[in-house]
């Protein structure tokens, strides 16, 4: 049994102007110690996915269907009390902006001890000892003094390390990191990524990394899924997706990176922009921006096609696979 298994998840937002489906047909699983990257541009629904796993969606968002199985228990159907025993304890989350995550009027220590006391029956002194030890793990210099400081006394990189330390406090099984380094500078980002990789590997924590940066995904994760307009359009081993993307959107995203073009030459751009959730085109959501659009793309939602180790939702890929198979069969017959 997978550690986390998401089946047919559907998330909706009940807006005044009508119901909007933010996520649909989300299927994936996460094994213990696995590292999964969720890639997409803004509006793709990747953050909503992170939030909905812990059922942290706030109104008007709600889980409209499907199940989120954590060790076989369905998180989507749990009572708030049961959920509280899992959030921060078995599954923890790291958000983008450490200044927004940390409480500015409590010291680092107070916030860490509070979390420990909420989940474990231990004394305050023990809790503080564990907190100092976790700060040491994330390489905060002189943790005994830092623990009594307020978030505003620390630099951005240091704050994000504290957030990671809080995420690790209860030795969780899964960490969901939503753009953990987007607010940081590149040199600090590299440090934080290194640290997260190290900690996840050493404690065999599963990591779900939500990001828009393909470079980070390629360095940090083994599995990846690409999202577009609320759907997964390609998922599989990160190496395959990075080196041999099948979906035209993934290809476009890769080719749009400045690293992929010769200096001074035009970049390969994807025309248009991601559709708003209120009016996702019928058929394949990517069809108005796609260079390979066919008739079927405009009417029919593409199903998943296997291609190597990946699953791709694209009519063109499906057709190519059919033709390949037919050619292979023809060869066999001859």
């Amino acid at each position: 049994m997978a550690l986390l298994e998401v089946n047919n998840l559907e998330v909706r937002f009940g807006l005044r102007s009508g119901e909007v489906t933010a996520l649909r047909d989300i299927n994936f699983s996460l094994e213990r110690g696995e590292r999964l990257g969720v890639v997409g541009e803004s509006g793709a629904g990747k953050s909503v996915l992170g939030f909905s796993i812990l059922n942290l969606l706030s109104k008007p968002g709600y889980i409209a269907g499907g199940e989120i199985l954590f060790e076989g228990q369905n998180l989507a159907a749990m009572s708030p009390k049961q959920l509280r025993s899992i959030r921060g304890n078995r599954i923890s989350m790291i958000f983008q902006d450490p200044m927004m995550t940390l409480n500015p009027v409590l010291t680092i220590g107070q916030q860490m001890v509070e979390c420990l006391l909420a989940h474990r029956r231990i004394s305050r002194t023990d809790a503080r000892r564990i907190a100092v030890q976790k700060l040491k793990q994330v390489q905060i210099p002189s943790p005994e003094t830092r623990i009594d400081q307020y978030p505003h006394e620390l630099s951005g990189g240091m704050r994000q390390r504290i957030v990671i330390a809080i995420g690790l406090l209860m030795d969780p099984d899964i960490i969901i990191a939503d753009e953990p380094t987007t607010a940081l500078d590149v040199t600090i980002q590299a440090e934080i990524m290194d640290l997260m990789l190290d900690l996840c590997e050493r404690n065999s924590v599963a990591l779900m990394l939500i990001t828009h940066d393909l470079g980070i995904v390629s360095q940090m994760t083994r599995q990846a899924m690409v999202m577009y307009a609320g759907r997964i359009i390609e998922q599989g081993p990160t190496k395959e997706i990075i080196n041999d993307a099948q979906h035209p959107y993934t290809q476009g995203l890769m080719n749009a990176l400045p690293q992929m073009a010769l200096p001074g030459q035009r970049l390969n751009q994807i025309r248009g922009s991601m559709p708003p959730l209120q009016n996702i085109p019928t058929g394949c959501a990517f069809n108005p921006r796609c260079d390979y659009v066919m008739d079927a793309c405009r009417h029919e939602l593409p199903g998943f096609t296997r291609s190597g180790g990946c699953r791709v939702a694209c009519h063109m890929v499906a057709q190519m696979k059919l033709e390949e198979e037919a050619a292979a069969r023809a060869l066999e017959v001859n």
Binding site: S42, I216, Q219, Q259, M260, P263
Partner: protein, 339 residues
């Protein structure tokens, strides 16, 4: 003389300090029973010399707080320098009055980072774009103004019939195109772009970068491009200036910098770019944190984090020296051949 004629903008010994002590009464403190006046400053730029050559795209890179945006704003005259001078086409412009600087404003335009904040939400796109044209050509007729606006809208790929719409009706990428159109509307020769694509998605970034490169080619523009994204610089820049804590570390042609970065900070910065490669990143780890620009370190500003620093680095501020690759680098270790 030749070098003078080639460089469009010259920045000489530029210093910029910001007071963070509040107003006069806030600055008064009791120290040992006496009333004293204390002032603290953020030293945003410390003695930067930089030339922008005609027709090039000079990229300024660095991490947050290194003073790159302050340079952009000081060059545009939005901030007055604390010391030093800025010249445009050989004429000093930093001490001009608002009226005297007008002809230069027409030649220099700016594109800001956040297209959600830099467009007036109460003006239609046509109004936004017409305003600079009218302001700088008071004698232009209504038809001339409209034609000009049409022309720039078309050149950035925005349908001129959308002129009646407001900025909230456009996506982020479209808004940034409109900001670019606004900058191009007065036919400038020099554009300062302060992180123009940082707020945009990858696929949209490519659209905007392409647009800026096309505009450079067709209108013969010169760019001062401020960014923290090094992979963009590699693609876009003619030359790159790397800044750290308000000082210039290295200035080099883009190719040379990416092939052989000389300054220890440039090396660390380049190694930290997340590349599309398998395996674990092999970046250079810097010790410590960025010091604050309030209490600048003595000597080289980078010495506290530099793996090659020695006693001289903590004492003496390094000056820019020419390298064999055609760039300039400010580092004692490079000068002494220590690494």
């Amino acid at each position: 003389m030749n070098a003078q004629a080639k460089s469009l903008v010259q920045i000489r010994d530029l210093y910029k300090r910001f007071s963070i002590s509040g107003d006069f009464l806030d600055q008064l403190k009791f120290r040992g029973g006496k009333l004293v006046r204390e002032q603290q400053h953020v030293h945003a730029i410390n003695g930067v010399n930089l030339d922008v050559q005609r027709g090039e795209a000079l990229c300024v890179v660095g991490e947050s707080g290194c003073g790159k945006s302050t340079i952009a704003r000081t060059v545009m005259g939005l901030l007055k320098p604390s010391a030093g001078s800025i010249s445009y086409g050989g004429e000093r412009i930093d001490h001009l009055s608002d009226r005297q600087i007008l002809p230069y404003r027409r030649k220099m335009q700016m594109i800001f980072q956040n297209p959600y904040a830099s467009l007036n939400p109460r003006m239609t796109i046509a109004q936004t774009l017409e305003e600079p044209v009218r302001f700088h050509n008071p004698k232009a007729s209504a038809t001339e103004v409209r034609d000009k606006v049409h022309e720039v809208m078309q050149s950035v790929g925005i349908d001129p019939s959308w002129g009646k719409r407001f900025s909230h009706e456009f996506s982020g990428g479209q808004r940034q195109r409109i900001s670019i159109a606004r900058a191009l509307a007065v036919d400038p020769e020099f554009i300062v772009a302060d992180e123009p694509i940082s707020a945009l998605d990858v696929s949209i970034q490519a659209q905007v970068l392409n647009l800026m490169m096309d505009a450079q080619e067709s209108r013969n523009l010169t760019y001062l491009f401020i960014t923290h994204d090094l992979s963009v610089v590699e693609h876009f820049g003619t030359r790159v200036a790397v800044m750290y804590l308000g000082s210039l570390c290295e200035l080099a042609p883009t190719k040379a910098l990416f092939a052989t970065p000389r300054h220890p900070y440039s090396q660390a910065l380049l190694s930290a770019i997340p590349r599309l490669e398998d395996g674990r990143p092999a970046h250079i780890r810097l010790q410590g944190e960025v010091s604050t620009p309030v209490n600048l370190p003595s000597g080289c500003v980078f010495h506290g984090r530099c793996p090659h620093a020695n006693e001289r680095c903590s004492r003496e501020i390094p000056t820019l020296i020419a390298t064999s690759e055609g760039g300039q680098v400010a580092c004692h270790a490079v000068q002494e051949g220590r690494f």
